[in-house]
């Protein structure tokens, strides 16, 4: 076991509506690394991401998750977020009537307050958001819109990355942030993810295709199948998967 790991998942078992979805999943993500989790549809990738973020409706029936030395599963979702865990949603929800920029500021201040820092100055905040928006090539009008309201699929994903850039999480779990993006948007999103790479931070990229991994080269790739990691390797594993398909690993595991 890697003692420097930021995220340490041991034998995680998760049941949803009476069905076992994760079945003895083990995963260790050291600080400073980007790990990709790949797997066929329905293999439990989003379930894993949601359980780590604390979404209700999942029953953990076994195993442990340690994050930055804490027992992650004992924390409320908002406490996990304030402790630096960020989930980029596969399907970000639209919240009409809640202003985008308001949410960004409330989220940033929640984290700062939890860390004993003062609330962000309004002027500095706007400057920060504008800078990150330029990076994500988002228009100013976005600031005054409702959260994800009327956004295209690609805009929603870019918005997730924008939030991540503003919040600067210690651990980002990005659930299929690449799906539904055209090649230009994919490059923008990848650039956003890469700007946060640092020795202190880790990223878990949940993805179905290896396309994103051409732009964000992972330190490790894991294949999830039927609720557990069936194979791990380096960046080259993603390319091999792309060539040979998931049946190759799934079959091997069976």
């Amino acid at each position: 076991m890697d003692s420097t790991a930021l995220l340490e998942i041991e034998d995680l078992e998760v049941t949803v509506e009476g069905r076992k979805i994760l079945n003895g999943l083990r995963l260790s993500v050291p600080r400073g690394q980007v790990h990709a989790i790949m797997g066929p549809n329905g293999s439990g990738k989003s379930t894993l991401a949601h359980v780590l973020a604390g979404r209700p409706g999942y029953e953990v029936t076994g195993g442990r998750v340690r994050y930055a030395g804490k027992d992650l599963l004992s924390l409320a979702p908002e406490e996990r977020a304030r402790a630096g865990l960020f989930l980029g949603f596969q399907y970000p929800v639209e919240i009409p009537g809640v202003n985008n920029v308001y949410l960004l500021k409330a989220a940033l201040n929640a984290a700062r307050t939890a860390q004993g820092q003062p609330e962000v100055d309004a002027f500095d905040f706007l400057a920060l958001v504008r800078e990150k928006m330029r990076l994500m090539r988002m228009e100013d009008s976005f600031l005054s819109r409702g959260v994800n309201e009327g956004f295209s699929g690609g805009e929603k994903k870019r918005n997730e990355i924008l939030q991540m850039l503003v919040l600067e999480p210690t651990l980002a779990i990005l659930d299929e942030t690449d799906s539904g993006l055209d090649i230009d948007a994919l490059k923008i999103v990848a650039a956003g993810i890469n700007t946060l790479r640092s020795p202190a931070r880790s990223t878990v990229l949940v993805t179905h295709y290896q396309r994103l991994l051409e732009h964000v080269v992972p330190d490790a790739v894991h294949v999830l199948s039927r609720g557990r990691i069936v194979r791990s390797g380096g960046a080259e594993l993603a390319r091999e998967l792309e060539r040979r398909g998931y049946d190759w690993v799934s079959g091997e595991a069976a």
Binding site: A53, G54, R55, P56, A76, P77, E78, R80, A81, R82, F86, L87, F89, P92, V93, I95, P96, G97, V98, L103, A106, A107, A110, A111, A114, G146, V147, Q163, L167
Partner: protein
């Protein structure tokens, strides 16, 4: 006659002796006793807390103006008029209150059965708040203060609005309490918009949590008149608002937006009836209600399209949010259509806070209470955003921010 009605007739009859226009008042009281009081079996009165009437005294309060009275800050550009228990408060007002005319009381007699409480008001109203705009656009704010505790008498505020052809009015009507004791208020408002007139009417019902309110608003619109009504119902222990709007002239148009908040054991009941009586008339009705605690919040939006109202257009969007396990909320669109060429659309829904939205906000680190409050706020946004007076909107936003109940999700059913 029920024992209650008999008591009302007795108390009102005696009180009328000392008031001007006794004939008109006597006729109003007779009409009320003839019609009788509504009962909870009446479809349009199901949610009103009619039983609260049993405990009331109907004799008008004396209108003793308290020496100290905390009023909301004045709004720039608006002329303020203050009434305490239906009596004009000259010292706190910027304009003189005109005398009450018998004709105004008589008009009440022509109203329909849902407007019965305006008869009680006509029988006992002391002075009338009146605004008449002949030309241009005016801005007036009426503050109706309920001061007397229920045991010391009732409050009968009355407001009459006349906007002449082509003229405009921005009107603020607020109901509030002077102290923390519960009062009994029966208010009546009558609005007439002549041809091409326009009026934006903000109604803020912010009585203290022990007050009882029966409120009736009647509006008639002539051709091409445009009436925008924004109402915010947050106060009172039990409050019933009856809105009866008639689109009497061609192309007349009403935009109605109502937000109601209930908490504890509050009752917020609104019945809005819009009658399309002429060609090409339009209604847009918006309701957003939140029921927390053990409160009951109801909105019954009835649209009647008469035979004479071809090409009428009505839209209703009525939504209720259930924010407590023992709360109750009901939104009901009703259509009664007597002609073919109409467009009527309605959406009505009642639900809990969206779990996915809540989780999204939590996953961004917001405290649970803040997230819940934010979602409730967002729910009301359609109504709040329509308040075109920035200073008023800010006041109301601040008020709402303090009021929004923060139900824990475990409490949600």
């Amino acid at each position: 006659m029920s024992a209650l009605l008999e008591r009302i007739a007795g108390e009102a009859g005696a009180a009328q002796q000392g008031l001007p226009h006794r004939d008109a008042r006597r006729r109003a009281l007779e009409a009320l006793t003839r019609q009788g009081l509504p009962s909870a079996r009446d479809e349009n009165w199901r949610y009103a807390n009619l039983r609260s009437l049993e405990r009331q005294r109907f004799t008008p309060a004396s209108g003793m103006v308290p020496a100290s009275l905390e009023l909301p800050p004045a709004l720039p550009g608006f002329t303020r008029c203050v009434f305490v228990d239906g009596h004009f408060d000259r010292a706190r007002s910027a304009a003189p209150g005109p005398p009450l005319a018998a004709a105004a009381l008589e008009r009440t007699l022509r109203q329909g059965p849902d407007e019965r409480f305006s008869l009680l008001n006509a029988a006992l109203a002391a002075e009338v708040a009146r605004v008449k705009v002949a030309a241009g656009t005016e801005r007036v704010e009426f503050l109706f203060v309920a001061s007397a505790p229920a045991g010391a008498g009732a409050s009968y505020p009355r407001l009459e609005v006349e906007v002449e052809p082509g003229a405009g009015l921005e009107l603020i009507e607020r109901h509030l309490s002077a102290g923390s004791e519960g009062g009994f208020v029966t208010s009546a408002v009558e609005v007439h918009l002549a041809a091409g007139a326009h009026c934006t009417h903000y109604r803020v019902q912010d009585l203290n949590p022990r007050s009882i309110l029966f409120d009736t608003l009647g509006a008639r619109l002539d051709a091409d008149a445009h009436y925008r009504l924004h109402a915010l119902h947050t106060g009172g222990q039990a409050a019933r608002s009856t809105l009866a709007l008639t689109l009497g002239g061609e192309r007349a148009r009403v935009d109605l937006a109502v937000a109601a908040l209930g908490e504890r054991s509050q009752v917020q009941d609104t019945y809005a009836r819009v009658e399309h009586a002429a060609r090409a008339t339009r209604t847009h009705q918006l309701f957003r209600g939140i029921a927390a605690g053990r409160s009951r919040v109801a909105f019954n939006g009835k649209i009647v399209v008469a035979h004479s109202a071809a090409d009428a257009d009505s839209q209703q969007s009525l939504r209720g949010l259930l924010a407590g396990p023992e709360a109750e909320i009901d939104v009901r669109p009703q259509l009664e259509i007597y002609t073919d060429a109409v467009r009527c659309s309605h959406g009505a829904s009642v639900g809990k806070l969206d779990e996915q939205m809540l989780f999204y906000l939590l996953a961004r680190g917001l405290a649970r209470e803040s997230a819940l409050r934010l979602l409730k706020w967002a729910f009301l946004e359609d109504v709040i955003a329509g308040i075109g007076q920035p200073a008023l909107r800010r006041q109301l936003e601040a008020r709402l921010a303090r009021l929004l109940p923060e139900a824990a999700p475990e409490e949600l059913p």
